[in-house]
Symmetry: C2
Subunit: 497 residues, 2 copies
């Protein structure tokens, strides 16, 4: 399971062969196994539930370690929250996870292995700041570089300095061990931001920070969780910072994937081959003396270990027998998904670039509160992407697509002018309506959850192991965290087998 | 569905007959239907999921209205969170919901209908207050009558006066409409209590208030939720107050049920007869053009409407197809159950009474943080009941019963002296380990949930209706709220059919 063996395996195509053999008890590949039809009962060393980046990475490493693996995926596609949103002309644009930035080493390595290249997010020019009915432009990077009126700038900078000092004291992966964990987990981020700023401008931007990074209102989330989210925006040699979280340049939004990020899970799933079973939502996991039995629609798999590679909230929808330990069961009740939708408009050209704009905006009103330039690398057409904010998505969750389109284009026009009013086409991805995600981009911890239940995020329950970006130390909530969690859980399971 | 028709029905035994007919499409009872064996596919006007007080009450009223009903219950017993905990000698004691008090009219009426009598909770003498290693006694009623050292008394009284004023402004059943809902839902109760008291005594008792009424730490719960919980401690003619919530005399702990509260759901389920199907956990609810299909283990029922009479968190474990509206789906991720266990010691006599004690105590340390006298009405033996506090239940969830017993008896001895050390027998009920409850006594709202998702608590999703004490206006979290929710949902469904 070293990187060498993984590379060798991926290079020779043995992975797919090993995968096809997982239905048989033996791990050695055979021509017969490769052509065997999908059966309704199988066995493997390990069942992985969920073919997102976490589950696929875990499967890859376990197969590389010589284990037989079956991956059960509820959807008809791999990738989970990484998704190429179809456009009317047959192309796709990023409908889910999208960016990659510095210190995100593990998703970078995986993308390289899969032959997926990255390119810089368009970031030349000024950003738009819309607040209190007034549109202005600013040059600094990231949403927190937006300029609140008058002394709010200083107010915000002081609050950010305080947050920065607090973040340094939060142990990555174990925020409940921070010296002030109890105090910080007892309050919402909203409470802290109100106690530590006085200007409406600073308060607005701190709310926008919570909204744009976590897709929750600042009321919903523990201060400790927010601090840890920033502490996790780094790697083993580079401490996490708020700047790296929110910035485009040198930050988490620095680059995108040529051809779309979904190429990474798609290609990995392809290499894993027949061991990935689609349209197989897992309904129950039964632990017995000899291991586990995993019941999916149309398929039952016996295994020695199971990896549940899903967010805690969605993992909580599976029936576990016997019941999980209470700390895990109650954790899954206390880790809700953010609320998120992405709206895109496709234009003949990225016209905002000619106006000296990056395509990035922050707004306090309208359906969309943050935007990015999602155009293809060569700028051959222009794609604006906007996040639909928390207040509006509640109203638009059930709205017909025409209503979402009208609301989205009204926002785009307000932010980027009349040229935004008539796109060639639009599309929307409402993650809250996705049964197998239940929201996005990530599960978040309300006050009190991390200090009382945090260790249950990763702690195995007998033969049941947990993965998913929520369980990662670094870059939790991001693609990089998903890959890290898959690599961590594969080591954990391999050692336990 | 008037009270007259209900009484008539319950008086004649027609309820059971109507129930037995529910398997057939016709509502009229027949001898054949009455003796038909349980089949694997049935149909009814309405399926009720959950045979707790809410579900049984809904079924009772719908049957009384001439509807055919099938109740599907996951456990092998009715009652849900109302449960007679078995003791070694074959008797039972209250293992779950226990008390009844003034303004709890609906559970009172139901108990009367079922022939279950109530009696006063033993409340003569002094209460024990254990804090900072020191045991003292106090005479006032309820945990907030405990005497913190020095000026903490005044500090607490001022905080309670403030809370009382705030509570008056919260509309019962619709806390999100309170004038200051946004502000109060943006913070935890812990944040408010720290901002509005300075003494450690007042702060301790406010935490004890959250812990003893909601079984959560004050960090976990929205201030708005706590205010509403108190506002709901009344009825249409009597506004709710904190005093009524926490007091024994004139409060929610005033009386108990002779023979145990489980007699109420047990007798109601008995009268409903064969329409209540046990060991039938519902796995999925499929909405089609003609109604719903409810899939339980071993049984599938087609119906025009379904009532899900469970807490939001546990209702969220069912698979809904098509997916529920996002606001409901996300609400179910944001309404975790409290953490609760009950430990009882049974003694030859209620010895604490001879010492001039009520048997009620509040403590800041040890496994148990609050106690009550759970002896039978005639005092023929003594039963002490203690709630295991939030910090300890995490450690004791998975502990062997002997360890729980040792921890519980250590607490009892500290509070009531050496006579407590040697009970005739003990028992423990750990609700967090109960798969079909997932904690107790009730689901609670973390910050941000009520203002963004509150209306989804009750709003039907097509033919799917919601009941359970969490959906009640008055006495949410209590048996009375469960009954009220069943009565409300039955009207709602009957009107929709």
């Amino acid at each position: 399971m070293t990187r060498v063996s993984r590379r060798r395996l991926l290079g020779t195509g043995a992975l797919a062969a090993a995968g096809a053999a997982a239905g048989a008890a033996a791990a050695a590949p055979s021509a017969a196994a490769r052509t065997a039809p999908a059966s309704s009962a199988s066995s493997a060393d390990v069942v992985v539930v969920g073919a997102g980046l976490a589950g696929l990475t875990a499967a890859r490493d376990l197969v590389a370690a010589g284990r037989s693996v079956i991956v059960l995926e509820a959807r008809d596609r791999p990738g989970g929250r990484v998704y190429g949103l179809p456009l009317a002309d047959g192309t796709t644009t990023e409908g889910g996870a999208e960016f990659i930035g510095p210190t995100q080493d593990r998703i970078a390595a995986l993308a390289r292995d899969m032959g997926v290249e990255t390119f810089r997010t368009y970031n030349t020019g000024k950003n738009v700041y819309f607040r209190n009915g007034k549109r202005s432009l600013y040059e600094t990077d990231g949403i927190l570089g937006a300029v609140p009126p008058d002394w709010g700038v200083i107010d915000l900078q002081i609050a950010l300095l305080r947050l920065g000092e607090m973040i340094k004291t939060v142990p990555v992966g174990e925020p409940w061990k921070a010296p002030k964990a109890a105090e910080w987990d007892a309050q919402t981020f909203h409470t802290w931001s109100r106690s530590n700023s006085l200007s409406s401008g600073a308060r607005f931007l701190m709310d926008a920070f919570a909204s744009s990074t976590l897709s929750v209102r600042s009321q919903e989330v523990s201060l400790l969780y927010v601090l840890h989210y920033a502490a996790a925006a780094g790697n083993e040699s580079t401490p996490g910072t708020i700047d790296r979280l929110i910035n485009t340049r040198n930050g988490a939004q620095e680059s995108r994937f040529a051809g779309g990020p979904e190429l990474v899970p798609n290609r990995l799933a392809e290499r894993l081959g027949g061991i990935v079973r689609y349209n197989a939502p897992v309904r129950s996991i039964v632990t017995g003396s000899g291991g586990v039995t995993v019941h999916a629609d149309g398929l039952t798999v016996s295994a020695r270990r199971v990896v549940v590679a899903m967010s805690p909230a969605i993992a909580g929808k599976i029936d576990y027998s016997p019941a999980l330990p209470a700390s895990r069961a109650q954790l899954m009740q206390r880790y809700p998904m953010g609320s998120i939708a992405k709206f895109v408009g496709v234009y003949d050209t990225p016209f905002w670039r000619e106006d000296g704009l990056t395509g990035q905006a922050v707004a306090d009103s309208g359906a969309i509160d943050a935007t990015f330039d999602n155009s293809p690398p060569d700028g051959s057409r222009g794609i604006l992407m906007g996040f639909i904010n928390q207040a509006n998505i509640r109203r638009l969750d059930g709205a017909p697509e025409a209503e979402v389109r009208a609301a989205g284009l009204a926002s785009f026009t307000k932010l980027f002018g009349d040229k935004a009013a008539n796109p060639r086409m639009t599309a929307v991805q409402r993650w809250d309506n996705e049964m197998w995600s239940g929201g996005g981009p990530t599960g978040v911890a309300p006050p009190g959850a991390l200090t009382a239940f945090g260790p249950a995020l990763r702690e195995p329950c007998g033969p049941i192991h947990w993965a998913g970006t929520e369980t990662s130390d670094y870059w939790t909530g991001y693609m990089d965290g998903a890959v890290r969690s898959g690599e961590r859980v594969a080591k954990e399971v391999d050692a336990a087998l």
